[in-house]
Subunit: 189 residues, 2 copies
DNA sequence: CGCCGTTTGTCCAAACATTAGACACACTTG
DNA sequence: CAAGTGTGTCTAATGTTTGGACAAACGGCG
């Protein structure tokens, strides 16, 4: 059980129970909340590896706005904890908006237990990936260089380093194939 | 019209025409394809700022598998070009899978012209954002440090730098800009 | 065509960052 | 308590980054 604590937030106690049964045994600890009000406090206390968040908490409102709000609030304060949204009133627009707002995944009720477990594990795994600094740097450098059509002066400028430094980094890097950008006219920028 | 070329791929010529009418005047150039077969070649030639990709090309098949395949293929080869998917047979699962596969956005048919334009512009804007190297670095450093509960030795190890270097980096920026230094960088272009 | 601005490749010396290694000290844990 | 680990600090050697400078190459333009 290497997957740590999961925080589950849903206003329906029956759902919390069901989810708890499903997740217990897979995760070290399953903490539940019936309202997102104390989510930030609970997160600070429990330091969950992932959060499963329902999207509707006011009876009669099923727009998902509340869940979206809490997603943003939690994500802003804890950008490294993956948040999986779950809702019975899912539509494509809502799902897209959620993912673009930082959700790690989006699940519909009724859910499949195995899928839920898989999705949460997956989210935790992805959030746990750590990239060495050099790799992050050279990837970024290549991306910006591409964007500048190979213009090193401009790329260096945008990267906030000197032209020579960029020059050296590029030489030091064994990545010749800039697949992609032909030598076409510079895109607009 | 600073938004460059858009490549639109849809097997229905009527849709291509409609989209072209909608996008012409907003983008410098609208290139269309009725099949994704030549997408990679066309991208190399046209260097589009964004791609609008339909998800179903075989009559009778509307699973979106084909679009997903092409999304992956194009995204793998041109990771810096935002790809917006569009489909008439949308469901939540498909949308989620698409976004997790690298799609910049996901639009359903019939579409709203203004929304389509907004989505494409947005995707291009986002893809064009360039982060200075230091900022990328310190954000990453803080993320990894967080993940290690502040254990600098381990964080340094994971980052591939020495403990002292990490120590210095951390003390150099005790509370780095989370996201909003009002800087007046000429984002020229 | 020659002029001019820009970019490149190259060099330098000074400033700065990174490194391994060392050490005293604090902190957990058995 | 003693062992094990991590911190904060230091040093001296090594490596990197910097602005500045320069000739050469490129491209646009009158």
């Amino acid at each position: 059980m290497k997957y740590g604590t999961v925080l589950v937030i849903d206003d329906n106690p029956a759902i919390l129970t069901a989810v708890k049964i499903c997740l217990t045994g897979v995760f070290e600890r399953v903490v539940t909340l019936t309202s997102p009000d104390k989510a930030l406090v609970t997160i600070a206390q429990e330091n969950p590896a992932a959060i499963l968040l329902d999207m509707n908490f006011s009876l009669g409102v099923n727009s998902g706005q509340e869940g979206m709000m809490w997603l943003s609030a939690i994500h802003r304060k804890y950008p490294d904890i993956p948040i999986v949204l779950i809702t019975a009133y899912a539509d494509v627009k809502l799902a897209v908006r959620a993912l673009k707002n930082g959700a790690a995944d989006f699940v519909t009720k009724p859910w499949d237990n195995d899928e839920l477990i898989r999705v949460l594990k997956d989210a935790i795994d992805k959030a746990g990936e750590i990239v060495p600094l050099d790799q992050l740097e050279s990837e970024h450098v290549r991306k910006v260089l591409n964007k500048c059509d190979g213009n090193m002066k401009r790329a260096a400028d945008l990267l906030g380093i000197s032209r020579q430094t960029l020059y050296n980094k590029v030489k030091a890097s064994p990545l010749p194939p800039l697949r992609g950008e032909g030598k076409l006219r510079g895109e607009g920028e």
